[in-house]
Symmetry: C2
Subunit: 462 residues, 2 copies
């Protein structure tokens, strides 16, 4: 009597586009631009190139837009292109390393929204070192599979005899530029703020050009893939790792599969779990596994995760980016040491800018970033907002109507987004603590600046 | 060089449990209870039974809980049990009808969290009219498939020779009752508030029993599945419907596949789209389809969706539920007429209670419900909060520190949740408008009550 059904991931998100950031045509235009720009920046940074990104919006018909995003990245290998844009939960970023992308669905959802509102496929031209691919892609939503034009991928590929490389995406979607213009422009501006090594050009539908040229040639360091940290252990992770090293002795298994586990610590954990260190992994009983997992999670004194899987903005780069875009009178930034929440390494960077061209606000203006992505929506529930609200600004001699802006960047191998549209970040106590300590530091520096400034002004009046 | 991978839906959510409401052990306990209780209530209401729900929490070890949820619902057919709890995106509620459930993942995610934190399977005993099934289920996360114990489902099933029916779920998870106790108790209380026809019993880990016995025997009306409304038309929907009736004439196809389309309106839409009404669906060109979809979406004067797919609480039932739980001095409720957003029918119900046992609050206390689910988290970004914030309460003679509570219930075939944890609702203008109008009405009624009360008090003093 009940109609039990299963759904493909594409069909599921087709029915639930609000949870992916495609709420309405205005918001969809913003999200589509965001997802494509983040893919381009990820690609360039992973390859170590200084990004040149061009975004163009054209209103082809009333409320029907063509979005063009072009980058000088490494391109996409031909065989991976159809699924990269025509399959939900397909990604090259499913690993413990910092990228903007993480879900394996952003590009595909933009294609889906375009397809259901305009009937048009996405047009991808991607140039790698070896190949040039020119392909149109739609999604078979019921089956979560790409449908390409031409049908046969080989007809879309030729050898690359140039030394060019990069990707051009052309996407048609129903949109509302009036509604989303301010947010899109702000997104481009804030993206440039935390990526001063990138040149980003945005051409509006009326032809107006907004350019942020790079102000540094220093490419950000490329993060390395890291092993899981013991504090993130759970039974699923443990069982998967066990299957990879069944014949190893458990003492060697622990040290090879987890980071931050030296010989001494591993022996202690096994001793507390009452497990013989020389036992083979495949011979561990369920009870022994349970005690080991518990031990990994609860053992006090494991080193914090190493931060080589992270790529923070850096204090100097952060200051440079804020100066370029907001031209404040005073700006300071701080980087907290690497920490972890639930086994995931993270670094918090906090900056504060005052005066100059920063407008006077009744409320403290908060800029939020996660893995260098500007977060422009749903700030009220965000972990950073919770911290800002609890700061007693008067203690630092900050008046209520101040030309003040605060910037919080959280980078992690696993940013704890609460939504698939990457709108805001969960209230993790470890992260909240680091934001709080970062803000206290930049507040003190602001206080010193305001005192010096006030002393100077009194001197000049005297 | 790039490691392109695909993930199963189970594996994806295993890596992203924050987006499903499993942020930490305290929150996980709340979400698991919520998901199981909502499944039980859905099952009873769909079958037309007065729900008897029993929830029991036992702390078997420090921070390891056994959750038992028992209902007198229709049970689950044996062949559907493994996937109902062992497969993400599997549901009997994927249709245009109001239920609490909608995503096809709540029960499965609770099982997953339990499995990765305790290694234990869920234990399901389900009794339908014909069968009794007793089964333990785990999830093969990498493949999104159930793994049952016993392996062979038939060994778990016997004939039902009793006239009992219902389902018992036993689930073991890592939890933190100290952290989530207040929220769980509030959730049970608010569930009872909008389901006064249900008897709900909650037994805490220390043995304390909280019972809400039913105060009415009136079962809520069972919603009927409805056809899509033209305003929700997009190319994917249209193409799927076309495939079902390829040989029909397009004029008949429109009237059969969409609701609210009479012969006159359908002819007008086809005329504006320049399509011959007698043309067969499979002969429509891409251009013709495009113009028809546009016409369906934009045509002014299509009747609003019919509300038979909805089951609002009802003004009297809402008042009864609020009275029973909060014992106010004054309570009023109103039901807005059925409307639609993006083709999805919805009804807004607003209630307001004042005085009696309602505590004085500095801020207006807002209770939010969607399809009878109490929403207890992330209220700041919710559409209802936005409306409440803009109300000028002084206009209705409401003082700042008032014993006042406002209740908003939104029911729809497609509640526009922003999160898969069903935390808050998107800011849809059509819904916002109805909430606003509902609040204005109950505010005026409150104002009348306060005037009468004040007049009475002045008389008594004189
Ligand atoms: N401009 C590009 N250059 C190179 N590779 C790209 C580009 N755009 C997309 N890709 C590839 O396509 C894959 C899928 O992109 P998609 O945006 O759907 O997911 P993602 O970026 O991995 O994760 P998220 O959903 O969080 O954005 C990416 O992982 C990347 O490998
Ligand atoms: N107590 C129950 N009685 C009867 N059927 C049940 C019960 N619990 C679960 N089910 C069945 O199992 C299916 C899957 O449940 P699950 O919670 O995973 O998804 P859902 O309720 O359909 O959607 P959502 O994820 O929004 O809760 C349900 O659709 C329902 O058919
Ligand atoms: Mg992406
Ligand atoms: Mg459910």
């Amino acid at each position: 009597n009940e109609t039990f059904k299963e759904k493909s991931p594409a069909d599921f998100f087709y029915e639930n586009m609000d949870v992916c950031g495609f709420d309405n045509p205005g918001r969809a235009l913003y999200t589509a631009v965001r997802e494509l720009v983040e893919n381009s920046l990820d690609a360039c940074e992973t390859a170590g190139y200084l990004p040149d990104i061009k975004v163009k919006l054209e209103e082809e018909e009333k409320n029907m837009f063509k979005i063009v995003v072009e980058d000088n990245g490494p391109g996409i290998p031909p065989e991976n292109i159809p699924e990269s844009f025509g399959k939900v939960f397909y990604s090259s970023k499913y690993m413990m390393k910092q990228h903007r992308g993480r879900f394996g669905m952003g590009g595909t959802m933009a294609v889906m929204y375009g397809q259901i509102t305009t009937q048009k496929p996405v047009h991808v031209v991607s140039i790698t070192k070896d190949y040039i691919t020119d392909l149109k892609i739609k999604i078979d939503i019921l089956n979560n599979l790409p449908v390409t034009e031409p049908r046969n991928l080989e007809e879309a590929v030729e050898l690359n005899n140039t030394n060019k490389h990069g990707t051009i995406i052309e996407l048609w979607i129903e949109g509302n530029y009036k509604r989303s213009r301010d947010k899109i422009i702000e997104y481009i501006k804030q993206t440039a703020m935390v990526a001063p090594y990138a040149t980003i050009e945005f051409i509006e539908p009326d032809g107006n050009r907004i350019i942020y040229g790079r102000v540094t040639k220093e490419v950000p360091s490329t993060p390395k893939e890291s092993k899981p940290h013991p504090k993130g252990a759970n039974f699923e992770l443990f069982n998967r790792l066990c299957r990879r090293r069944e014949r190893d002795k458990v003492i060697n298994f622990l040290r090879k599969e987890f980071q931050a586990l030296g010989k001494k610590t591993s022996l202690k954990i096994l001793e507390m779990a009452k497990v013989d260190p020389n036992k083979r992994v495949k011979e561990l009983s369920e009870g022994e596994k349970r005690r080991i997992v518990k031990g990994l999670r609860n053992f006090e004194g494991i080193k914090p995760p190493d931060a080589s899987s992270l790529a923070p903005i850096g204090v100097e780069t952060f200051v440079m980016g804020i100066k370029r875009v907001l031209e404040p009178e005073f700006v300071t930034a701080t980087q907290r040491p690497p920490k972890a929440y639930e086994g995931h390494p993270f670094i918090v960077e906090v900056a504060l800018a005052w005066g100059g061209k920063i407008p006077v606000n009744e409320e403290i203006k908060l800029y939020r970033f996660a893995n260098r992505i500007p977060l422009l929506y749903d700030e009220w529930n965000d972990v950073s907002t919770r911290v800002i609200k609890k700061i007693n600004w008067k203690r630092y001699d900050v008046k209520t109507n101040s030309p003040l802006a605060v910037f919080v960047h959280i980078c992690s191998t696993s940013v704890p987004y609460k939504t698939l549209g990457k709108e805001y970040i969960a209230n993790k106590p470890e992260i909240r603590r680091e934001i709080h300590l970062g803000i206290l530091k930049v507040c003190k520096e602001l206080q010193n600046f305001l005192h010096k400034k006030e002393a100077k002004e009194r001197k000049m009046k005297a």
